[in-house]
């Protein structure tokens, strides 16, 4: 029996369950009996139901649960939203994702997904949105969005004020506070952990590795969402996706699958909007890896240039004689990148690859002698740095601007670095604190206890990931065709991209270039804020980003 009480269909179909539900403290409001007027149950009747999960979860590729249940811990909380005291329900547990039904065949249970849902009580389901959140990796749990971004409780971090001294040792904790910019006023929030992360695991005869691939992963998420919608009677609710990082691949693929599958019932919308936070839309164009032309690919690093400029500006290393503000400085660098750096980098590519890369390692002297000083001026590093690495990758840039080994740079936020004598990588500065927090947050706030440790970011998924996508058998998937297709099926689908100025992993300008190449510049706005990959970890950007999110939810469609 399911422990949570939102399934009005259960109440209608099986009156004897009412007694059981009442005993378990699950009682719902009278509205539950009519799906057409369904509203989420009021918390007054519900007591907290803690859950100690007896199942042991494993993250290796061959792991599989023998079977799965849909149990969850349910707790009730209060919060003040917009000056009003309201109540919400938190649900932490598992739902079974099953492959779409095939007539005459038994149900194919794929993955037992772990999720944490925050739902405002007493809301009319036909208008109350529900948003599904996931981080990326691939192979990351959704701990970062769950505890760092828009949930009702959040870890207090301000990357803009993290000095190297503060990171001499890896922080063990950050304060856990009430979130004054929680998205709970905009939408119900469901944070979902991908297969083999968190407490999500495949169900035999499937195994975890079966879902470690671009297409299989997205299909499993589609099937989780279908189950969540069915069990919680959200067919008529506006549904949104919020994906981060590798979520830029997952989201368009998942959105296409959801739109192709059509209305989940009662004429409700399949999907209303998608938000992509610091996405990678294509591995073919991001130069930070084997896709760069120096390694046999076709990408170049021009897309990183405005991010270098932003980092230089905010580290007070850029040349800024006109004292431009950050956004104007970055606009100038973008224009320079388009008009000067891009053609020069193309010429460099021809020069360096000639005669079997005979010129590799030789400093490059571009014909335009103003170019090296201009590159240096915008980016805050030296002309010799640019001559030596004219197609400037983020790792080389990081080392140059820090003046120490690039491992000290937080590649997710070029303003954050560890001091010279530390041994842990700058990009990992927040791992320990988040991992520590989830250990107590799950049982203490959410009532969910497990004998297994929550898998924050296991290595197995990325090591075994199948990067193929449809007919594309390369290891460089792109979700651009999926984005084009989903917008063709549903032209009014709301789409927005949020980027951080100082992100050196998924640079915002590369996303701009990818969208421009697809003719989607007018359709998909890219909104940039001070901050890194996890924009929301920069304190000053939280309220402006939340304002943009509020506008996104309340708007009828993205401005075209």
């Amino acid at each position: 029996m399911r422990d949570f009480h939102r399934s009005s269909r259960m109440v209608v179909f099986n009156l004897s369950m009412l007694a059981v539900l009442a005993l378990a403290g699950c009682g719902g409001g009278g509205d539950d009996s009519n799906p057409g007027n369904a509203s989420s149950p009021n918390s007054v009747a519900g007591a907290d139901q803690l859950y100690t999960d007896p199942v042991a979860y494993a993250t290796d590729g061959t792991a599989a649960l023998p079977s799965a249940t849909e149990n969850a811990a349910v707790t009730h909380h209060n919060i003040t939203l917009g000056g009003q005291a309201v109540s919400y329900t938190a649900t932490a547990g598992h739902l079974t994702a099953s492959a779409p039904a095939v007539a005459g065949q038994p149900q194919d249970q794929e993955v037992s997904f772990f999720y944490v849902a925050y739902t405002l009580d007493g809301q009319p389901l036909g208008t109350r949105p529900v948003t599904f959140f996931y981080n990326g990796g691939p192979g990351s749990s959704t701990i970062w969005l769950h505890l760092g971004s828009w949930g009702p409780k959040t870890l207090q971090v301000d990357e803009a004020s993290l000095t190297p001294a503060a990171l001499a040792t890896q922080p063990a904790s950050f304060p856990l506070i009430d979130n004054d910019v929680t998205m709970l006023n905009d939408s119900d929030l469901v944070f979902v952990d991908a297969t083999g992360t968190g407490y999500s695991e495949a169900i035999a005869p499937h195994k975890n590795a079966d879902f470690w691939g671009v297409d299989a992963d997205a299909a499993a998420f589609r099937d989780f969402i279908a189950e969540y919608v069915k069990v919680n009677n959200r067919q008529t609710s506006p549904k949104y996706l919020y994906g981060e990082s590798y979520g830029g691949i997952r989201t368009p693929v998942l959105a296409r699958l959801i739109e192709e599958a059509g209305s989940p019932g009662q004429g409700g919308p399949a999907l209303s909007g998608i938000i992509m936070n610091s996405p990678i839309l294509s591995y073919k164009t991001n130069c930070d890896g084997s896709a760069d032309f120096l390694y046999g690919g076709s990408a170049n690093c021009v897309g990183f240039f405005p991010s270098y400029a932003a980092v230089a500006y905010s580290r007070n290393k850029g040349s800024n004689p006109n004292q431009l503000l950050l956004s104007d400085y970055v606009n100038g660098s973008r224009q320079f990148a388009t008009q000067k750096y891009a053609p020069a980098d193309a010429a460099f590519q021809t020069w360096v690859s000639a005669n079997n890369f005979a010129n590799y390692g030789t400093p490059y002297a571009p014909p335009d002698t103003t170019l090296l000083p201009a590159l240096a001026g915008w980016s805050g590093i030296g002309t010799s740095d640019w001559a030596n690495t004219f197609d400037m990758d983020p790792d080389t840039f990081s080392g140059a601007i820090l003046g120490m080994d690039s491992s000290h740079m937080d590649a997710y936020n070029g303003l954050v670095n560890t001091p010279a004598n530390t041994t842990y990588g700058g990009s990992n500065y927040n791992n320990l604190a988040f991992a520590n927090q989830i250990k107590s947050f799950l049982p203490q706030f959410l009532g969910y206890s497990s004998q297994t440790a929550y898998a924050v970011e296991p290595n197995a998924p990325i090591d075994q990931w199948n990067w193929n996508h449809g007919d594309d058998k390369s290891n460089s998937p792109s979700s651009i065709p999926d984005l084009l297709e989903v917008l063709t099926l549903h032209p009014d689908l709301k789409v927005v991209v949020f980027g951080g100025y100082h992100d050196l992993r998924t640079p915002f300008h590369q996303t701009e270039l990818d969208l421009a190449g697809a003719g989607l510049t007018a359709t998909v706005p890219v909104k940039i804020f001070p901050g890194g990959h996890m924009i929301y970890l920069t304190q000053a950007s939280r309220a402006p980003m939340k304002q943009a999110i509020d506008g996104f939810y309340s708007g009828a469609s993205t401005v075209h």
């Binding site: 779409p100 981080n135 990326g136 990796g137 192979g139 890896q170 990082s245 590798y246 192709e260 599958a261 059509g262 209305s263 399949a270 990678i280 591995y283 073919k284 930070d288 890896g289 084997s290 390694y295 046999g296 690919g297 076709s298 079997n356 890369f357 590799y360 390692g361 990758d393 790792d395 080389t396 491992s407 041994t423 990009s427 990992n428 791992n431 970011e457 290595n459 990325i462 990931w465 990067w467 449809g470 390369s474 290891n475 460089s476 998937p477 792109s478 651009i480 065709p481 084009l484 297709e485 917008l487 063709t488 099926l489 032209p491 990818d514 190449g517 697809a518 003719g519 989607l520 359709t523």
Partner: protein
């Protein structure tokens, strides 16, 4: 030209796969040639895929080629659901194939009310909605 890098890159991939997990960042060596080592961060969030297997690389498509790819993918899905000899799709076929989008809009797509739609019918319908695969100005 590209074969110059392949053996080094294969060694890199092997090295990446063997790196054990730890809380510190993980590194793999990327060596375009023997002399110039460049460290690339892997592990943790957004690790990078291995290089493409020889012969599998595909460019990022743009413009009409991209639109054609999106339409081609849609056609494949349509054909998979449709009758294999007539290439026509009924409402029941659409539902059975999980192509709920077509089922939801069947009446609008089936303009002559025959109970069957062709891919051309679907294309006409999508064109009328002016989505980006059919609208160069989007």
């Amino acid at each position: 030209m590209k074969s110059l890098h392949a053996p080094a890159i294969m060694a890199i991939v092997a090295a990446v796969m063997c790196v054990s997990s730890s809380s510190a960042a993980e590194y793999a060596l990327s060596v375009p040639d023997a002399g110039a080592a460049r460290l690339i961060k892997v592990g943790d969030m957004l690790p990078k895929p291995p290089p493409d297997e020889p012969g599998t690389s595909r460019p990022e498509l743009r413009g009409q080629a991209l639109r054609n790819q999106a339409i081609g993918n849609l056609k494949k899905r349509f054909d998979a659901a449709a009758d294999p000899s007539t290439h026509l799709l009924s409402l029941a076929d659409a539902k059975a194939a999980g192509f709920g989008y077509v089922a939801d809009h069947f009446k609008e797509i089936d303009r002559n009310g025959s109970g069957y739609i062709s891919f051309a019918d679907l294309v006409l319908y999508l064109k009328s909605r002016k989505g980006p695969a059919f609208n160069k100005d989007s």
